[in-house]
Assembly symmetry: C2
Homo-oligomer: 311 residues x 2
């Protein structure tokens, strides 16, 4: 067993279209790097080498909350030093807290001789999400850990299903420089849904996974509609309709709010379309004097990975 | 173009588990036979050779309502004589009206030189369903026409998706001799659904189609739960919980109300289990002094078919 590992934890898009709370995917980039090392210190040590303003107290940091859930299950008193080089901006809606929480448990699991499978780490990483947002959702941490498209079929009991995606599919994410608290974004949702909207959402999510598995891009495109969360949450994002329309005009298959926003994602069949969609979405924000960052990436198939030593 | 065709229209199970209103499948048997012939009469002629008590007036019969929707679209004044040999008991919840409506338009389409694709016949057959139950649902008529598992991804616009199922999967259906009006069964449903139940239903329906496409029987089994309609509708069926439990004890993957009931179906991995599940479900009804019919069948892959001439 080594004493330290260097890992890469990818950004993730949750609430993919009609898959509110149950479907996410990972991107190749952006992603966080983390150095995870065993320490003889009395408590975990958090080093923020990226200046992202992470909470440094172990009881408040999503990574150490997740880590302690895992160590508690093992009955282990081992402490770790976590050095973060964060590239995923906290609060942007592309799984920043998930990358930290999932990365920490993934690295520590390796250092402890893999007592858990990768899927077995999801519940611990979810504890980090709960600390971050008040909701123990898995649709960021599961794709961060496993890569690809991941369905959270059920929360009780937890059932994590990797959805075989098309050979290639590309994502454009635009992160506008505005801030939305995940917790608030959840609270504005209505607690009931009209029956016919529930049926519509079911049809779309069944269509979306069918389209992904069978490589039916027409079906993916037609199914990419969330009639439950998006009509409410989109009000929190200025220019939402125009950004979506710009991506669709550029040829994207479909769009949605990434996680609870404010980022907006689009899926495209090829990289050129994904780049065009990203540019056009960015342009809409720019024309409204809102700064934004754009990321174009294939859907990541591997999830969190160890980086070669010395990198 | 011939002047008459002899067709076989299979029974179907709608509302498959979490696929309330959107997922159905066809069975090999039971099924109705119909003889569909062109006639020079001034209106359609309905002959009920099975004594099923079908409405004989063309304006009330689901088959002729569907037929007239199709003929209206074509601007055709052709009339047909429909001879029914019904084996699917009306009101049993396994697509009796769907078989009549879908069978009529299928046969007439052949006799008219196939102006429509099979999928293109679904909207006309739905008009028959609307006449029968007040709701133009497609999750019986679409699998009756196409065979296999069929997803109604969307009703507006209508989007019918064949779900590639496992190589083999078997169905047991038990039809108790009690009667439930489809219309009533729909009216007792609540018009709103708690958000978390909508999310649970979405997870299960996505899991179910994923399980069907990838041949993951564990996932099919775990996903076969309807948290929206079944908890309410099951009160209309005596012995419901006991019947379900008997099928699961016999090894069935999962169970549910077929359509709006009163029939109950179970899916099983192999024919022996399906037979055992059927027997056990039947036994529960018998022990409560309720007569019932049992059908065991592979999931039908072909849908409505022409029978050889002279049969």
């Amino acid at each position: 067993v080594e004493d330290g590992v260097h890992i890469y934890a990818p950004a993730t898009v949750a609430n993919v279209g009609p898959g509110f709370d149950i479907l996410g995917f990972a991107m190749n980039h952006p992603g966080d790097e983390m150095l995870i090392e065993k320490t003889k210190a009395a408590q975990h040590i958090i080093i923020d080498s990226s200046g992202a303003g992470l909470p440094l107290g172990p009881e408040k940091n999503v990574a150490t909350v997740a880590l302690d859930a895992m160590l508690g299950q093992l009955g282990s008193k081992q402490k770790f030093q976590l050095t973060f080089l964060k590239k995923i901006a906290p609060g942007s809606g592309i799984g920043s807290s998930a990358a930290s929480a999932a990365g920490a448990v993934y690295g520590a699991n390796v250092l402890l001789g893999n007592p858990f499978t990768t899927t077995g780490l999801v519940p611990f990483a979810m504890m980090g999400e709960e600390a971050a947002s008040g909701s123990a959702h898995a649709d960021n941490v599961a794709p961060a850990l496993l890569g690809g498209f991941v369905l959270i079929r059920s929360y009780e009991p937890l059932d994590i299903i990797s959805i075989p995606g098309p050979e290639q599919i590309f994502c454009s994410v635009v992160c506008p420089e505005i801030s939305i608290a995940t917790e608030k974004s959840r609270k504005i949702l209505k607690t009931t849904v009209p029956l016919e909207k529930a049926v519509t959402q079911c049809g779309n999510v069944a269509g979306l996974v069918t389209g992904l598995i069978t490589g039916n891009f027409r079906l993916i495109s037609d199914s990419m509609h969330d009639v439950i969360a998006e009509p409410i949450r989109s009000f929190l994002i200025p220019e939402y309709e125009n950004v979506i329309q710009a991506a669709l005009n550029a040829g994207a298959l479909g769009c949605g709010i990434s996680g609870s926003g404010p980022s907006i994602f689009a899926l495209s069949k090829d990289e050129d379309t994904a780049m065009m969609a990203g540019e056009e979405m960015d342009r809409v924000f720019a024309s409204a004097d809102i700064g934004s960052s754009v990321f174009i990436s294939p859907v990541n198939k591997q999830g969190i990975k160890l980086l070669p030593e010395g990198t």
